[in-house]
């Protein structure tokens, strides 16, 4: 099979996902358009050679609806022969889009394809696309539907992560993100978002709280205790009778932030890269997705990492850098515990707790973050993964070339 190479990766800064956020007055289409234009312009890309653009988007309704990938292709003035498709694997949509783009190259369906994603959570709120899982009684009851935060708290309870453990992790995420920005570690991938006049609207992640400490986090009330008491705790205990009482430890300060943003990653075959005069930065070594128990929902990263490592013929210690989306602190702590991953290999530049999680766009951002950091530190292999709604996991291993 053809190898899939990564030629470039870009992302927007992340704006606070509310009406006061800097990107609230920028459309989702504009965010997606700007990353596509950036990746074209930085690489002097002949877009007629890009066969397909795959964009993740978790709330594909309203202005994000009706295949925003194709609409962004048109708006970005790509060749009209470039196709576009929008995919939804909840929080892993962006990484799934990258894996699909890479797969298209590997199978020969495409010689060059873009993966990535877009989500303006301030403009199209989370949950806007509805869905049957929580609303249709037939599936909701049999699959122990509970909101994600209940699952995150159940992970903390079941696997013994205390409020201090999750808060300490959050503080560290903030510190790492602040240091990374201070040292310009994201500079290679960040493209400032421009406004309607072409002026710069946002050039940094604005969700960060670098001054957060244990004391300030301790003041925050648990976010999911009320929901749990209404009945969701009793539901999750039906699947996990070993849990006597859920310890509700997660709150706004140790969970991923709600933000706006977009990402794009350019994949291609070796031949097409050479023809276009592009230099490959990494190759895709293995990809995987799995399903896991939906009630607790967020345990997928361990299982999908084991699967993708097996496909790559690697062991956990063979990976130089891990990037696991910080949906909730307990999710990352659990995978580190399960696979014995030292904290200095995991999310070394912080994560979504500090910088936010623009649902459909995040996966593509993780690819760029790992790639930049591997290059900066001269390391070889990176594994990106995310926990996913309804109990799934998606992962990718890349290595520099």
């Amino acid at each position: 099979m053809t190898e899939a190479y990564i030629y470039d990766a870009v992302r927007t800064p992340r704006g606070k996902g509310k009406s006061s956020g800097s990107l609230h007055e920028i459309t989702s289409l504009s965010l997606a358009t700007q990353v596509l234009q950036a990746i074209r312009d930085r690489n002097d890309l002949d877009t007629s050679k890009v066969d397909d653009v795959v964009l993740g988007c978790v709330s594909p309704v309203g202005e994000q609806g009706a295949d925003i990938a194709r609409v962004a292709v048109l708006n970005a003035d790509y060749a009209e022969t470039t196709a576009g498709v929008q995919v939804d694997r909840f929080c892993a949509s962006g990484l799934e889009a990258c894996n699909m783009a890479a797969s298209k190259v590997m199978t020969g369906e495409a010689d060059m394809a873009i993966g990535g994603g877009v989500e303006s959570m301030s403009r199209v709120p989370m949950g806007a696309s509805g869905g049957a899982w929580s609303t249709d009684p037939q599936v909701a009851i049999k699959s122990y539907f509970t909101p994600q935060g209940i699952g995150a708290d159940t992970i903390a309870t079941k696997y013994g992560f205390s409020r201090d453990d999750v808060d300490a992790f959050a503080v560290e995420s903030q510190k790492r993100a602040a240091r990374a920005w201070a040292e310009g570690r994201f500079a290679k991938s960040i493209i400032p978002v421009k406004d309607q006049m072409g002026g710069i609207r946002l050039d940094h992640d604005e969700h960060m709280r670098p001054d957060a400490d244990m004391q300030s986090l301790a003041a925050l009330q648990p976010s999911f205790a009320g929901m749990g008491a209404m009945g969701f705790d009793e539901i999750i205990k039906q699947r996990y009778p070993e849990v006597e009482k859920i310890n509700h430890v997660h709150h706004a300060g140790n969970s991923s932030g709600i933000v706006d943003g977009a990402s794009a990653v350019l994949f291609g075959s070796k031949e097409m890269g050479e023809r276009l005069g592009l230099k490959p930065r990494a190759r895709v070594r293995a990809m995987a997705s799995i399903g896991s128990e939906p009630g607790i929902m967020l345990t997928g990263p361990t299982y999908v990492s084991q699967k993708v490592l097996k496909k790559a013929g690697m062991n956990p210690e063979d990976i130089d850098l891990y990037e696991l989306n910080e949906a909730f602190a307990s999710v990352v702590l659990l995978m580190m515990q399960n696979l014995n991953i030292p904290h200095d290999k995991m999310n070394v530049n912080g994560g979504a707790i500090a910088m936010g999680h623009p649902l459909g766009a995040t996966g593509g951002m993780l690819v760029g973050t790992v790639l930049d950091e591997l290059e900066r530190t001269g390391k070889e292999t990176g594994l990106m993964t995310l926990c996913v709604g309804a109990g799934m996991g998606t992962a990718t291993i890349i290595e520099r070339v």
Partner: protein, 743 residues
């Protein structure tokens, strides 16, 4: 037109009047004939051009209609064996049968002529559904007994004649959900406020008001047939917020029913799916879910036990025939402790003059204080009046003098569980009693035949086992000793009916029926604990499989000291090494070293708060017993569920084997009311018959016996039943005829 269950006339203005009046019944139900009549008059109204409109009312003073005929319905529930039809033909036939009333009511609603209904009394279930299909509903404002409601869910069914479609369209999904899921009834004022009826009037006026409306509205349409109709509060996936309502409704049902009640889930689906489509499609969806629900064992079990059997037993179905009914002029209760005090209260509440006897007048008065407190509470909550309360208390005479027992028709002895004491009291009472008086002993374990030895009239001696708290527990277990006469049993049944409780009749043995079987649930929990299963797993699985409390919590309620005594006595009786047994050691450690005797001490397996509510499992339980299983997979949960429920059912089977109990209906109702056996199963016998089948149950019991020991071994009786393919309801069918059924 001549109808069997409806009166029919058409007036000079062309307004037809159908008067619901099922012959030979005090209450209208939707019998097969009534449904046929509704089909007939609907066709007449729709096709006869001379008819301009229709008014429906009832000819019964008891109300409009109590709903489906559950006697007929119970026969069809649970899935039948109709092997002559193909799967597709069977489903088609089931749908057509299930849809006949639903489709007819829709036809009536869309016939283009106005239909109004006058509701002078209760309209429940199918009765209310018929009313909801009318364009205009007038209810009486002067009948305090009038109630409306859709109670189908209480017996494992769902409203199948449009109730799940019309009520949400009328009042909104959010308001309709609790009414349908919980089946609670509501009165005329609330019905008017919600829009379930459009007008209130005096009973004598309702028909005229209905007629006037019909005349004034010649082209009536249901709101949902008007152009631009919107469901109040919106529709999931179409209106903001409506998806959230669906999500929260699913949460409520999932968290409260543990997935044990298919009707609850299917009600949610009827509304969720039905409300998103036009009502014609919604009604078809409802019928499909209705049939899906009705075919399940839960529906058959719940209709049979929770409705039919309850009704039959509450009417004295297990009373021996041929004995005159006893009117109780005076009943003496001896022993004014917690039980005696409660018994005195329920007797007085039923209007029976009661003598409450104890060793001192002061003690007897303390017992009466219990009634005083209950009366006070009822008066302060508006459930009773001062006058009624005073009258109740006046019926209780307190004394320490056995002369006051003279002339009692019945003595209920409720002293400590001590054979000597009970013997003494038997003799003291009999010294003053008439020859015909019955002596009833309230004991939960002591064999009646042994106690009766102290009596000079053992044929008049019987066990009357109450449950605590007496005023809240609906069951009374009547135990016949070897020499107890049928006449005495008949009197005891009369007594239990007189105090408005449900009797079951059993025969003598240690622990009788209920106390003996009740203990198996907690003992199985102790076995699991001894195996090293994490306490939270034992408790959660216990509740989730349908028991009212976790096994350890029940043990706390009974008292761990009591459990220790029983365990020691059992071990001794079996010749086991009491000291060396690790279960005994564990309980002794809890009780004797740690002082954790249970809820009464505020600490047992649980820590209790000052209100006596469990706060948490005591974290040190596992200091003595190592936790070996701290995760519960769905497979393990299934295994533990089976151990809990099968173990109890095996004990019930042993009771049948030994002749302790002889009627499947008594056994089922006893298991639900006495110790809370998973109600959705219909009780232990229905659990075996309907959820496993006799052969499947014996196989499961054999499997469990091989794995965990002889406590699961099926008795010879069960093997014989399995060999003959007989369930409990085949081998031990309920005595007497089915009571007339309605709901």
């Amino acid at each position: 037109m001549k109808l069997e269950t409806f009166g029919w006339e058409v007036d000079a203005d062309g307004i037809a009047h159908a008067v619901f009046d099922v012959p030979g019944r005090s209450m209208n139900t939707l019998t097969g004939k009534a449904v046929a009549d509704i089909i007939a008059f609907t066709n007449e109204v729709a096709t006869n051009e001379a008819i301009k409109g229709l008014v429906i009312s009832s000819g019964k003073p008891s109300g409009f209609c109590a709903g489906a005929d559950l006697g007929e319905m119970g026969q069809r529930a649970g899935g039948g064996e109709k092997k002559e039809l193909s799967e597709a033909e069977l489903k088609k036939q089931q749908f057509e049968q299930g849809f006949s009333l639903n489709g007819t009511l829709r036809k009536l609603e869309t016939c283009g002529k106005p239909v109004a209904v006058a509701l002078n009394g209760l309209a429940l279930g199918g009765g209310l559904e018929v009313a909801l299909a009318c364009h205009y509903r007038v209810a009486a404002n002067d009948n305090p007994k009038l109630q409306f409601g859709l109670p189908e869910a209480k017996i494992g069914l769902l409203p199948g004649a449009g109730g799940t479609q019309r009520l949400p369209r009328l009042v909104g999904v959010q308001a309709a959900l609790p009414l349908i899921l919980q089946g609670e009834s509501f009165n005329a004022e609330k019905a008017l406020a919600m829009g379930v009826v459009q007008e209130l009037a005096a009973s004598s006026e309702t028909v005229a008001k209905a007629k006037a409306w019909v005349k004034a509205n010649p082209k009536a349409k249901a709101p949902w047939d008007e152009k631009g109709f919107k469901v109040p509060g919106g529709v999931p996936h179409k209106s903001p917020g409506a998806g959230q309502v669906a999500t929260m409704a699913n949460m409520m049902v999932a968290s409260k029913t543990y997935g044990n009640y298919p009707a609850q889930k299917n009600i949610l689906s009827c509304i969720y799916e039905g409300i998103q489509v036009p009502i014609d499609a919604g009604l078809r969806i409802e019928t499909r879910y209705f049939i899906n629900t009705q075919q399940r064992p839960e529906a058959k079990a719940m209709i049979r036990s929770l409705f039919l059997s309850m009704q039959e037993l509450s009417k004295g179905a297990n009373r021996p025939a041929g004995h005159p009914k006893t009117e109780f002029r005076k009943i003496a209760v001896i022993g004014a402790g917690l039980m005696g005090a409660g018994i005195a209260y329920v007797q007085a509440k039923a209007g029976i003059p009661t003598v409450l006897v104890d060793v001192s007048k002061e003690n007897a008065e303390k017992g009466k204080d219990y009634s005083r407190r209950l009366v006070e509470k009822d008066v302060s909550r508006g459930k009773s009046t001062k006058e009624k309360g005073d009258a109740l208390l006046e019926l209780i005479t307190t004394t320490d003098n056995y002369d006051d027992v003279k002339g009692a028709d019945l003595v209920v002895e409720a002293v400590f569980e001590n054979e000597e004491l009970k013997a003494k009291i038997t003799q003291m009472a009999e010294a003053v009693l008439d020859e015909n008086a019955v002596f009833g002993s309230n004991t939960s374990t002591l064999p009646i035949t042994g106690l009766a030895k102290a009596s000079k009239r053992p044929e008049n001696f019987i066990g009357i086992h109450f449950f605590s708290p007496v005023e809240r527990m609906g069951l009374v277990e009547i135990i016949s000793g070897k020499e107890t006469s049928e006449a005495t049993l008949a009197k005891a049944v009369d007594y239990v009916l007189a105090i408005r409780k449900t009797p079951i009749a059993v025969n003598d043995s240690r622990g009788f029926y209920t106390s003996r079987c009740f203990g198996t649930y907690t003992r199985e929990g102790m076995e699991m604990l001894a195996e090293g299963i994490k306490p939270a797993i034992i408790e959660n699985v216990g509740r989730q499989c349908g028991m009212p409390m976790g096994a350890l919590e029940v043990t706390d309620s009974v008292g761990i000291d009591t459990a220790l005594k029983v365990t020691r006595a059992t071990a001794e009786a079996m010749g086991a090494d009491v000291q060396g047994d690790e279960r005994t050691q564990f309980l002794a450690w809890l009780v004797e070293d740690q002082g954790r005797v249970g809820r009464k001490a505020g600490k047992g397996f649980y820590d209790y708060n000052e209100k006596g509510k469990p706060e948490r499992l005591w974290p040190d339980i596992n200091k003595m017993i190592e936790v070996k299983v701290d995760e519960c997979s769905p497979e393990l949960k299934k295994e533990l569920t089976s151990r809990f429920l099968v173990r109890q059912a095996i004990e019930v089977a042993r009771c049948f084997d030994e002749g302790v109990i002889t009627d499947a209906r008594d056994a089922d109702i006893g298991s639900i009311l006495a110790w809370g056996f998973a109600p959705f199963t219909g009780g232990c016998c229905s659990y075996v018959d309907l959820f496993w089948g006799i052969k499947g149950f014996v196989a499961e019991a054999d499997r469990l016996a091989a794995k965990y020991g002889d406590r699961f071994a099926p008795p010879a009786l069960l093997r014989d039943m399995a060999a003959k393919g007989e369930g409990f309801y085949d081998r031990f069918p309920p005595a007497g005829t089915k009571a007339a059924a309605a709901a």
